[in-house]
């Protein structure tokens, strides 16, 4: 499994988590945050925006055009209550799966 593939499935989870922790952010901000936290994970920028729009479509995040401090128009995303619930579900699933995989790896 390549690095990118691993990230593909978990990108929405990461986005939701980042938005939950850091509050409203624009797309580039989300990339920067993920990269800042983890040296290992690099967000494939091409897949970020479709993922964001899909999340938006599912009403888990909300988008709004705002103006940044240096007067640029930026599209800022923030978590919705439904998104927060989804995040909790995803997180639980992720931990249980990774725990299960870890167990197999250790005991096999």
């Amino acid at each position: 499994m390549s690095k990118q593939d691993a990230l593909q499935g978990s990108l929405p989870l990461l986005v939701l988590k980042i938005l939950d922790r850091r509050g409203p952010l624009h797309g580039y901000g989300i990339t920067a945050q993920i990269e800042a936290i983890s040296d290992l994970l690099r967000v494939e920028e091409g897949s970020l925006y479709p993922a964001l729009h899909r999340l938006e479509e599912s009403s888990w995040i909300l988008a709004q055009w705002t103006t940044t401090e240096n007067n640029r128009r930026a599209r800022v995303y923030k978590l919705t209550p439904a998104g927060r619930k989804q995040l909790m579900d995803e997180e639980r699933r992720w931990t249980s799966i990774s725990a299960a995989i870890g167990q197999v790896l250790e005991e096999a």
Partner: protein, 908 residues
């Protein structure tokens, strides 16, 4: 994002794309800024940022699919594709559209009629608040011995009711009219026209909520005998008679021997409170009615209408009004007891329940009563016809879908989801239905008015607002969508269930014998067609029976003239009638002439007297025969057979009041009367008591007996009938039997009549034969439509059977070729093809007959002399469908049998 914005995005892809561009550009700029901050030259930084984001166009597309409703986009694409496919299979599409148009058009026309006549609320504000009052008439007072409702009150009683109701409802009075009366406009010379004129109390229009289109309406100040008499026209009449010219205002019209000045037009579409009738003219009640009549406490004829105050219920209103009615009638019975009622009957009448009736859809007109059942039958047949058309179109679609199996398979193997294919097929169905809906609406708009013309006799035309309206439109659209689902779902599921590999391999035409669902659809189609044929057949056979009824008199060469005194309110004077008859009988063209109080075969248009008859010594037995008042010579003019006794003497005719002075007036009875009440006795000279209009029993003496003859209509059995000498009446009908065809003699006879007796005027004339036809209007209309529907159903069944058999034959071309090459006889090939179609056709016929027999009970009351299980009722539709099936199977079967095995084997 809401679905609205997604839909919006699908229609303006430009804007969304621009938004996405902005967002991505922002990302690139931010990344570049960061890189520059990290020490990279700006140029390189921008390049790198751009490269990192990847292919911007692809990115935009994948986001665009999410952002705009991808579904809607595919929908639009499917829509365009569907149109292309329909245009490609032009014949099949056309056949589908035609059959759907007929079915949807017929259903829509039927709905328009039913809605306009029965269900549509009156075009007035808050129609649900409108009510009228009715008293329950006890069974013993009703002619058919069933409790009925009467909405006839006296004016003084109305005044009491109005006052008692004033807290909860505004009541007003009307005199509604079921017939037409002559009116003379001041621009018409001396030619009067027959109009429906109704009187309304001063606040009536205000309470109903009618607005003037021009001028003003009747106001409370108009409603007094002292006020200047005014009149208001209905919008529809104003348009027809005056071409909507404002000059109609201030004209004068003479009605009921009184002149009224036209002051305004009531705005359309309000046309009166009895759907089916157009009220031409409204007059103020007190000005139009005889003040003596209005003051009479026991004289009925006033309808009491009203509008409930907001929040009030009929139940709360009923209580005080019931008390008023009961007290009023008890008082009246104490002062002026009706002699025909005794003891407990009086109490039953005075204490009869009062009903507050919902009048949101108006009062029942004759047409509504008469056509409620026929129109329901029409709706039933239309629904079946719709199912025929649906299964027919489904068949066509299945056959076409099989031909398109290769296309479906290709699309599926290229990754199209099954739901996409179903969507594609359903969209094509909806497109067909939409075309049929538009054409069906057009069809209905053309057909409905011409059916309205056939609802009433020419003398009393029906009037219905069947113009295009939102209700009709909504109905047609809903029906079309339902239709699209009905005929679209099966083919869509079938077509989309192809397995791509197999279908592609088989090349589409040879995919193995899966015509199972096609067979079932064919059975369904034949079944629905047979049900339509069966029900229509019943109506046609019943009509045939009706026109063949033995009348008991000779219908041809008789012309009827309605006579009325030319001047004033004077009663019909029979001595002048006698002179008239004498004069006419001497004309060479006239074989016989007589008078009757009403038109013979008046049907629903005349009121039939059913007096109470009691025989001496049988006091408990009350009998209600039909009574007809006729002059001497009636039976010879009508050619009714004599059985015993004598005709009336000239001096017995007429003068009902002088009759009473003689010991016992003469009466002639029919055979049914004798059979029922005095079998085996010599009736001549026998007597009985009659209680009619006059409350005192009058002893009668039988002087003659005649054979049974229909007097009022064809349907009712020839019951006991008594013929009394024509008494004083304000009007009468002259029956003239001519030596030759009377139609051309009518104008001349009319002049002769008016010349012979200048005190008379002829109000109308009709041939007896036409008058008889008028009593069968609903039956004739239904038979006509049933005939039309049978032809359509038969045609559709034929097309369906042909389509399926043809399709199956074409698919088996190779097989047949092999069989012929191996020595199968032509007959064997024909048998092969026919046996393939026989099963579904026979199953369909069985199902259709069963459904028809089940549904026939809804028709039972409309049928005359025909039972669903009769031989012809069953045989006629069977014969029709079998002939159609054979005709449809023959051509493909013969073609297959004569096919050249070499060509067939090479066929791909």
């Amino acid at each position: 994002m809401s679905w609205i914005s997604r839909v919006a995005n699908a229609f303006r892809p430009g804007r969304t794309a621009a938004g996405l561009d902005d967002e991505l550009q922002f990302h690139i700029d931010q990344r570049a800024d960061d890189l520059v901050r990290g020490g990279m030259p700006r140029r390189d930084a921008e390049l790198l940022a751009r490269r990192q984001l990847g292919n911007r166009l692809a990115l935009r597309d994948s986001s665009y699919d999410v952002k705009s409703a991808a579904r809607l986009d595919s929908f639009l694409r499917d829509f365009r594709f569907g149109l292309r496919m329909l245009a490609k299979h032009r014949t099949a599409s056309l056949a589908a559209i035609v059959s759907l148009t007929l079915a949807i058009g017929a259903s829509t026309a039927a709905f328009t009629l039913i809605d306009a006549l029965i269900f549509r609320p009156l075009p007035l504000p808050a129609p649900s608040q409108l009510i009228d009052l009715a008293r329950v008439v006890p069974a013993f007072l009703s002619p058919d011995n069933q409790p009925s409702e009467s909405d006839s009150f006296s004016y003084p009683q109305y005044e009491l009711l109005r006052r008692a109701a004033s807290d909860r409802a505004d009541l007003f009075a009307m005199r509604l009219s079921g017939g037409l009366q002559p009116a003379l406009f001041d621009d018409a010379g001396a030619v009067s026209e027959n109009l429906r004129a109704e009187s309304i109390s001063g606040r009536g229009f205000q309470i109903l909520g009618v607005k003037p289109a021009l001028g003003r309406l009747i106001q409370p100040t108009d409603d007094s005998a002292a006020a200047h008499p005014v009149a208001v026209l209905s919008d529809a009449f104003w348009r027809r008679r005056f071409g909507a010219s404002p000059s109609a205002i201030e004209r004068w019209v003479t009605v009921r021997r009184k002149q009224f000045r036209i002051v305004g037009i009531a705005a359309g579409p309000f046309a009166g409170v009895q759907p089916g009738y157009l009220t031409d003219l409204w007059l103020p009640l007190s000005a139009a009615e005889d003040p003596l009549n209005l003051a009479a406490p026991d004289l009925g004829g006033i309808a009491v209408w009203g509008r409930l105050h907001p929040g009030e219920s009929p139940a709360k209103l009923r209580e005080p009004l019931q008390a008023v009615t009961t007290n009023f009638l008890r008082d009246r019975f104490r002062i002026n007891p009706p002699l025909s009622l005794h003891g407990d009957q009086l109490r039953q009448v005075s204490d009869a329940p009062l009903r507050i009736r919902d009048m949101s859809t108006g009062r029942d007109s004759l047409f509504r009563r008469q056509f409620r059942r026929p129109l329901a039958i029409l709706a039933l047949i239309c629904a079946l016809l719709l199912l025929v058309a649906c299964s027919n179109v489904a068949n066509l679609a299945i056959a076409r879908a099989s031909a398109r199996a290769a296309e479906m398979a290709l699309r599926m193997s290229l990754g199209a989801a099954r739901s996409r294919l179903i969507q594609q097929m359903l969209i094509e169905s909806v497109q067909l239905a939409a075309a049929a809906c538009a054409l069906g609406l057009l069809f209905a708009a053309l057909v409905a008015p011409s059916i309205v013309v056939h609802l009433g006799p020419t003398e009393l035309p029906a009037w219905l607002d069947v113009g295009p309206g939102s209700r009709t439109l909504l109905f047609a659209i809903a029906l079309s969508l339902l239709t699209a689902l009905l005929f679209g779902v099966v083919p869509a599921l079938r077509a989309s269930s192809v397995s791509p590999g197999e279908a592609l391999k088989a090349g589409g035409t040879q995919n193995s014998g899966r015509i199972g669902s096609l067979r079932w659809m064919l059975a369904a189609q034949v079944g629905f067609s047979v049900a339509v044929l069966f029900l229509s057949g019943l109506l046609l056979l019943s009509f045939r029976k009706l026109i063949a009824v033995d009348l008991g008199f000779a219908r041809d060469n008789v012309v009827l003239f309605d006579l009325a005194p030319r001047a004033s309110l004077q009663s019909w004077r029979i001595d002048s009638g006698a002179t008239l008859l004498e004069h006419l009988r001497h004309l060479p063209a006239v074989q016989a002439a007589s008078l009757s109080q009403q038109r013979p075969m008046g049907g629903n248009l005349v009121w039939i007297a059913t007096p109470i008859v009691r025989f001496p010594g049988r006091a408990n037995e009350t009998i209600r025969p039909v009574e007809a008042q006729v002059s001497a010579g009636f039976f010879s003019a009508m050619r009714i057979r004599w059985i015993a006794g004598r005709d009336f003497l000239p001096e017995e005719t007429g003068c009902g009041r002088c009759n009473r002075t003689s010991a016992s007036p003469s009466v002639i009875v029919n055979q049914a009367f004798i059979d029922k009440f005095m079998p085996g006795r010599n009736p001549i000279g026998q007597g009985f008591d009659k209680v009619g209009d006059d409350p005192d029993p009058v002893p009668q003496r039988i002087v003659g007996v005649v054979a049974n003859a229909r007097y009022n209509n064809l349907r009712e059995p020839e019951g006991p009938t008594i013929y009394a000498p024509l008494a004083d009446a304000t009007t009468a009908t002259l029956n003239i039997r001519t030596a030759s065809r009377p139609a051309s003699l009518v104008p001349w006879l009319r002049r002769e009549i008016e010349a012979a007796d200048p005190t008379l005027t002829v109000r109308g004339s009709i041939l007896l034969a036409s008058q008889i036809d008028n009593t069968m209007i609903s039956e004739r209309l239904l038979a006509l439509l049933a005939g039309f529907f049978s032809v359509v159903a038969l045609l559709l069944a034929g097309v369906g059977i042909y389509g399926v058999v043809n399709y199956a034959t074409v698919r088996r071309t190779r097989e047949i070729g092999i069989r012929i090459a191996l020595g199968a006889s032509r007959a064997a090939v024909v048998r092969l093809i026919v046996s393939g179609a026989a099963m579904p056709v026979v199953a369909g016929i069985a199902l259709g007959m069963a459904a028809g027999l089940g549904l026939a009970r809804y028709l039972a009351a409309q049928l005359f002399g025909v039972k669903p299980a009769d031989f012809w009722s069953l045989a006629a539709p069977l014969a029709c469908i079998l002939i159609a099936a054979v005709a449809a199977v023959l051509q493909p079967a013969l073609r297959a049998a004569s096919s050249d095995p070499l060509i067939a084997l090479r066929y791909e």
